[in-house]
Subunit: 294 residues, 5 copies
């Protein structure tokens, strides 16, 4: 099994050490794991995501949840950061998500352009910036170039870079889909190669007949898959997205397995706030308990 | 019901406070509501809009209406601002509209590029800038990036940003159209996420069978719809466009309902000036009376 | 008596809130007071300051003292920050001191030029920048201009500005000296006027015959003097320097009085490290106990 | 037979002399030949390349191999360089690869965009930069322009430019394919013309009926082909890629022939690390022995 | 006794590691010590320095001596670097001296302005830049600011900074002179505080009655003095200048003592080349033998 990289493995300069330390050791579980709350779904999926729990549409819901649930950080776009973060400044670390798109436009040639800048992140006191890279998209050429400029500026100013590494687009669909082990692992490796300090990926869902030959008949357990991803990520830390809200026990089980296989934590959104506030807090506490074991 | 955000809820810096305060408390109804007169239809629709009231084609018509009708501000492009605003400077707040397009080109892949700059707005003494964002357009990637640069500069200089949040393009048409509750609400949320201080949307017209499943069978009153939009807009203020000229009583009724459901005001153009000047003034007075109740 | 300004009184943007919160509530006494350890004396006074405790010459001595003594932050120049801070990054907040001079050159027309930049502070993850302003110096014109550029950049990026507000130069000497209430109070007010978030001053030593008429016969207790300074500082927080090492009890007494009169804390250097390490820790603990009462 | 250009033939300025000297005479075989280890396959092909030797997925595997195997340099993207190079800084020269793409997207209109910059290369202390130019791609216009900017900046700062000169795209496929002598030679010449100091090409595989007339009936031995490429490269040095792992003896034979025909060395990746570490070291030693003869 | 800092103590980024490693481990004695040959005396003192050995006036004399004598590097201004370094590029590391002045103008208010830039150093492939800082000069304010800009740019590009730390000017003369332990030590500390990676100082010559009280009656052996300086330099490496040519045995004895007390090496010029070439080589060999012991 691959061991999670240590803080010192990460080759971080003083600024990134300071900012990542804040999220990994001063907030959240506090043991070097990460528990991040994302609230960019209003942009990515639209208000539809809030229908099942209307209170959750007000961003203060998530900011309050991040504070009370003792998250390592909250991730959002500039509009929410400017409006709601000031009240929470210092109390909850901020991850400024720098690019996004709506789900109205099909994602066969997906590219998320920028809503904010590294300088926005600096002036807000953010602890990291987030960037969605669509690996395998027909527009990945533009995406890689756009990311490179952000990576260069972020690292020049000591800001950690979290890459949402998402396989996406028609060529991914042809090769087994965005959740195949092949696609998730490739995305993780690309994120490492282009300079991610932390990589967000989805839980992999095995292999299938459309995957490249070397993968299609692979026999892999869930933990094998996670480990495969960890190898691809090297000295970038890996955190897992929860995706749409599912069964709690199953998700916690997956998380425990993933942590045993070398993951660093979670970035769960809908699983956190598509339920009553107090239930969300309890679920956050359950996640935190698991993370604290590692 | 959602309450309209208070001025202090808006997390504004001193510059935006100063400028928005001017429109919200020193001009117009003066109670924190907004009544803005837009005159960009000559660019957006062409002189066709002035045929029913030829006098209205001269921009001084609208500037005079804005002054005499005690509007919170007048919104126009740089050409009109440079030519007609000097005489009204200080008397009517200016919203410099920064991007636009004609209706000659089909809007299935709409993008409005810039006619003016934030620096134009500063040197003219504008109280805000306006930007049209076509949410869901195939070119929303370019739109988001273009807006982000304007948002960054405007906010760096303390200039409030009003986003004309318009669902637009072929994918919107496929999902129920630009006036469906789904589309208007999504547009409002996107505007909030990318940094709008004020959001201009059209009155929603319910749901239909082409909307996403979660919406298509929704039973919603007009006020429910407005409220749904208010939730999507969070701590961005929402003002409603009037669209093409219609029945006055119906429009006033809608406005009253919208205000009860949390709106901040109106940005009515054709309904104001596609009628004799004095009638326009009277209608403005009617609008103002409603706004003053909230 | 003047009350210490609250955190919310300070009119801070999100970035400064985040960074100052870190020093005021997450490190040091943690109750909104400040206990900062400065180690710039090697530049300002030379190695002569370390002769009485040779171990203290190695900057790791002060970094370790700041960590073990649970200080709110450590203040030093770029050379020390680049060499020693990385190991402490995240564990002790950094105040990057941006200007300095040696004591070899007489201070009758003192001006400290810059050793580092705001961008250095950002990339190192500093929680604040420090600047020495020589109020009253024949070169205060250059000083004010130099500071203004730093203040503008620091605040644009959300970095708190701590001003070492020192009356200095031949004209100060003619008017009662650098420690007179007149001079210290004037310096504090200037620092507030030019944009200090936090002001460092020396303990005042009353008035004398060379002070301006309005001061020279003033009857003021020590606490009256502190209060006088607090009024001059307004909504800038005030921290006191300890100066050369003196009597502990006397210094603790002064500190207690100053805190009662509205001070926010201390920035004591030589009093901390011109003694054996363990004694320094004990003294830090004594200081901390006093600060925690306020 | 063409002679390999001498160091003085290369018309290098002082900076490029310094940096290339380091790779050619101070590391690797040390006699003016080059033996470079590339580790960008995780981005170019994905983790699939590591399946046959899972240990090789950790980039430290290649860095350690480059050190222990006494390579002239290691070539990788910014993400790996920032994470793993610091420990090897000074011990193994770095070639920062500046552009790349994944193999998920078809290569019929290939273009690799930039992951890093010349300034990244400078600040990391790299001895050269690498750039993939897809000669003949429908997007070669963009490629040439992108390269020109890099060439200009690299040479302005004395950084040698290594061009991965790859014939690619549908038009190449129509004209005999990427490995035909026609295509490889053309690519080498283009690389020389646009400013390569060193050119990486694949071993040519002769001619075929789809090649242009002048080539299709050419009778050429392997050494003739290499010589043909050398002539195309002029005073740019030529190094050969090994491609996917093949038969060792055959590869060493080809290398010996290529060196006799004027080549400068190799850039073998998969042939090095798709085998146990000690076997890789032995193979590196075999390569080195051959290079030292020239 | 203070130990010489280890390479890892220096908190260097990858670029500075690479470049300093070259001088410390790949050239010169090769054991982490430094033996640098300066040839800037033609600017600083004029051709008068070459009168005793006319051959030495041709800069190729020093370049050849640096190569044959296996120095860690040669330090010179841009004019010599552009004219003579290309032939030695790669063979002898270059330290580009960035500022200087003549001895015609009195040095009571000394300031050396720049002859070259950090960008010159990069494009020449220099392994470090050199800067003369006149500590205590009436113009030290200008000096500190000029240096800070160079330090920031050099470190941003991974270029090590060597500070010629020279006490200078009328105030130094008043306080015991430029060679007093007080002055040399203070200069070393200032160099550390402003960001030197390596500090060049002169051998100290004890204390005298004009030094500050704390120094004037100090009883210190030569090794005590060196150690005192090492403490002031902290994690900056210290190399000693030889000054005007003196007695060889005495100089070697001093060097041996200095190395025992924590020095890193020498930067001897006139002692090297104010003698026949072969004698210079022999003396270099003697120095090297001493350095290799440490």
């Amino acid at each position: 099994m691959v061991q999670r990289p240590t803080f010192d493995d990460l080759s971080l300069d003083a600024g990134r050490r300071t900012r990542l330390h804040r999220m990994m050791y001063e907030h959240g579980p506090g043991n070097g794991t990460l528990m991040i709350l994302p609230i960019d779904q209003g942009l990515e999926h639209g208000p539809i995501d809030f229908l099942s729990n209307p209170d959750s549409e007000h961003p203060l819901y998530q900011f309050e949840l991040a504070l009370k649930g003792n998250f390592s950080g909250i991730a959002c776009h500039i509009g929410l950061a400017e409006k709601y973060y000031p009240k929470y400044a210092g109390k909850v670390p901020l991850v400024l998500k720098l690019n996004g798109k709506t789900s109205i436009v099909p994602s066969d040639a997906a590219l998320s352009t920028c809503t904010g800048t590294v300088q926005d992140a600096i002036r807000l006191g953010a602890s990291a910036v987030g960037y969605t890279l669509f690996v395998g998209s027909p527009r990945q050429d533009e995406d890689i170039a756009q990311l490179a400029a952000i990576r260069e500026e972020a690292h020049a100013f000591g800001i950690p870079l979290i890459i949402w590494a998402y396989p996406r687009g028609k060529f991914i669909d042809e090769k087994g889909g965005a959740k195949s082990l092949y696609a998730v692992t490739y995305a993780a490796r690309v994120a490492q190669e282009v300079g991610a300090d932390v990589i967000k990926v989805n839980f992999p869902e095995g292999v299938n007949e459309y995957c490249p030959d070397a993968y299609k008949k692979m026999k892999v357990s869930f933990k094998d898959q996670i480990n495969h991803i960890m190898r691809a990520a090297g000295h970038s830390l890996v955190i897992f997205a929860g995706g749409s809200k599912g069964n709690d026990d199953e998700l916690l089980g997956k998380l425990n397995d993933a942590m045993e296989a070398g993951a660093t934590g979670v970035i769960f959104g809908r699983n956190m706030w598509q339920r009553p506030f107090d239930d969300g807090l309890k679920f956050a506490e359950n996640i935190s308990q698991i993370l604290k074991k590692f």
